[in-house]
Symmetry: C2
Subunit: 458 residues, 2 copies
């Protein structure tokens, strides 16, 4: 009895149209990565477990897919440990490799291992799948692509400026006009916590502030109170709840609020430089917006924090994000390598382009010309024409057998072919071919001696 096939939950098959659409996004992103001077690297799908474990917190460790050792893997387990039947204790004895959980830790490992071949600042991009044993749900998969660009070895704020421009260039090219690039700085958040006298409650404060959009001023204040942030601190922070006006106006308010915090003032200074430089250089279609509630991975970032929101009216979480981290490679023994990077959320960008109908129409034209097959003699002549079209780069095919005309035309329809070529007995005699226009209707006859009169126009 044959198996009824299925695939693991949280994974996906991608059919031709989906692969083409995904590649369209990847290709646009890659093109801009390259014009911005980023270079591609690739790392193995699995790493030694010790490279990954302990880098993502306990929850992360649990979500890492572990690969069973090959051969008699129980051989290495002593009887005492074995007798405990303790899954987590046994794991490290029977599994020494694991599928990567993100591209950042492998990148850090790469930089340290290859530090002597790398010219710093090193601008790398990496577009590869990652795996997480997360509970699958709508839009959350166990295998998905990450798409990251990072610069390591430079603490210049010009990198932050460029990364914002890079977002703008990619989304403009994808015709996704009107995305909002939100900017914040970890030092500003730290400065706020400092001046309101709640330095040790930075995380609680930030988590509450982050909900301003959803629960409003009263909700945020209430949550802060619940976290034992003092009334005095909450009123000192009040101006943050009502930041208004242009970016530069907001920066003035912030600068004023944080004037007594060295770190906070530094953050405001950095943000001001980035925004002023970008205003001078100009963006093509993206909006730039200070958002002091933005905290993404607070424990990770040390300077700039970025997030990209889809255009207004599209309900979708962030479609990209990133920031600066001062010590990416320290965990692997290379100190003081500052980095800053951004990532693109492929699956969400895909959904947004789909919703807004922004994929180019030609994506679904996987075949531009189909030659009908009328029998072996006609087919041979057709193949010669097909050859010429293919050498001119046109996606072209001959139907492989002389099936009924109806069947061949149905195949052409199903594959969305815009032109069908007919070479029957009559055409063979006349050294010609007929082209049926499947979109507009009608047909035209060409000489087999000058096929370019047909295909040059495609």
């Amino acid at each position: 009895m044959a198996q009824k096939p299925s695939i693991p939950k949280g994974t996906r098959d991608f059919s031709p149209s989906e692969v083409n659409k995904r590649n369209y996004i990847f290709d646009v992103v890659k093109k801009h990565f390259q014009t911005y001077g980023f270079q591609p690297i690739e790392t193995p799908s699995f790493e030694n477990s010790e490279t990954l474990m302990g880098k993502y917190g306990d929850e992360g460790d649990r979500l890492i897919f572990k690969i069973l050792n090959s051969g008699d893997f129980l051989n290495k387990v002593n009887d005492e440990l074995y007798s405990t039947k303790d899954s987590s204790a046994l794991t490290s004895k029977i599994s020494e490799k694991a599928l990567r959980y993100d591209l950042t830790v492998p990148f850090a490992r790469y930089v340290v291992m290859h530090q002597n071949e790398i010219d710093f600042p090193f601008k790398r991009y990496q577009i590869q799948p990652v795996w997480r044993a997360d509970r699958p749900q709508k839009g959350r998969f166990r295998e998905f692509f990450q798409c990251d660009a990072d610069v390591v070895g430079s603490d210049s704020l010009l990198q932050e400026v460029e990364l914002v421009q890079l977002y703008d260039a990619v989304f403009t090219d994808l015709k996704l006009d009107g995305v909002t690039i939100k900017l914040n700085n970890r030092k500003i958040l730290a400065g706020i916590a400092e001046v309101i006298g709640e330095r040790d409650k930075l995380i609680d404060f930030t988590v509450a502030l982050d909900k301003l959009d959803k629960i409003g001023i009263d909700g945020v204040s209430k949550e802060m109170r619940e976290k034992n942030i003092s009334e005095a601190a909450i009123s000192k922070a009040a101006p943050l709840f009502a930041l208004k006006g242009t970016n530069l106006e907001q920066l003035s308010v912030l600068g004023n609020l944080l004037k007594d915090s060295e770190e906070g003032s530094k953050g405001v200074g950095e943000l001001r430089f980035i925004i002023e430089t970008l205003e001078e250089l100009g963006l093509q279609s993206a909006n730039l917006k200070i958002d002091v509630t933005l905290a993404r991975g607070l424990n990770y970032y040390t300077g700039a924090i970025f997030e990209v929101a889809a255009p207004e009216g599209v309900s979708m979480g962030s479609i990209g994000g990133g920031g600066r981290y001062d010590d990416l490679t320290g965990i692997f023994g290379l100190k003081d390598v500052s980095g800053v990077g951004i990532s693109f959320g492929l699956d969400r960008i895909y959904l947004v382009l789909e919703e807004l109908g922004l994929f180019p129409e030609a994506i679904d034209q996987s075949l531009q010309v189909l030659c009908v097959n009328f029998g072996i003699k006609e087919a041979l002549t057709s193949l010669k024409l097909v050859n010429q079209l293919r050498r001119a780069g046109i996606k072209c095919d001959l139907y492989p057998s002389s099936a009924k005309m109806q069947k061949q035309m149905k195949y052409a329809n199903n594959r969305n072919v815009p032109y069908v070529v007919l070479i029957g007995e009559q055409e063979l005699a006349g050294n010609s071919f007929v082209v049926k226009d499947m979109v507009k209707g009608g047909q035209k006859t060409y000489s087999l001696d000058t096929p370019e009169l047909f295909y040059k126009g495609l």
Copy 2:
């Protein structure tokens, strides 16, 4: 103490130049896949174990990487089984997923699961990594890419013709002139075994014949004797050992030898059709050669068998291969779907192109223009120029900090940058920029108002 990082044996990091070279090969292959009407699909990296296990023989099963179940995986193992401490018996209880071993079985699964959305004949290509827990050695990796094109749902021999043309198109485009495409047919091998009266020794006979190149006629005869193939059979097969002349001449000898075998005659007829059609259509740079010793995966293929050898003088095993199989999808319950496909050996093609110096030079030009950074005011003007170049699609960068000139020029050298742009105080005053030609030497000054006079030529 920081970890000293490493990667699992048999896996590789790919640095920028390597990724670019690999992508060059992939892009050429993909372009031709598409002009030949093939469409891309992608399948998950891991499959349910039952999809893969039992499809590659016992040795294959052992080489499949298994993924440990998440969470308390021992929970599902009853105490009796657990007490045996038997790795292989335990495996299926603690691991339900496995990394794919090739792209063919996942493709068969895909076809069956998606049969109602597919228009047959279905021409698909697939370029994805596969994993094998094989002993790593020179040129053999535990993670490597496969690059396959298959047509399912058509038994027309025109597919075989097209696949040979496709090989020719790809290798011609890669400038790898003079590859040899070897052709055989499983039915010919079966016919030979039949007419020499050793039908049940087909495999032994073929394995021995396959060594003709290496051990000569005497060696092959000796091996056949050792496998108890009769002297009478060996002398009947003798003409095979000395096949000479053109493909069509060899076909005559074969046709004569196999005239009493229905299957063998069918095989000769098929091969004749393929070769005559290809001679009529013409190949661009590949040689076509009948090779009755060619057996590749004999148990798998049912008709045509292909293999591609690198040009003479390059010592490298096959750089591609494939064939026709009559029942790809039967294991998953879809009967009578004939398929034929070929694959490209990426890693070997890479080595051959490297050995022959056939990679385009521009591949290592990951940055075409670098602007030297003389300080913040100059940098801002430089960034405006950089923007214009990038929008014109030129890979361009500003050095991120105003480091010493020597350091910046060294970076430019290390990154192989052909043009360095200088905008210092003097240029700023004169609204101009200087371009140093790093290859030919010399420099030129341009106006910042007409940068296209510089970059249009790139």
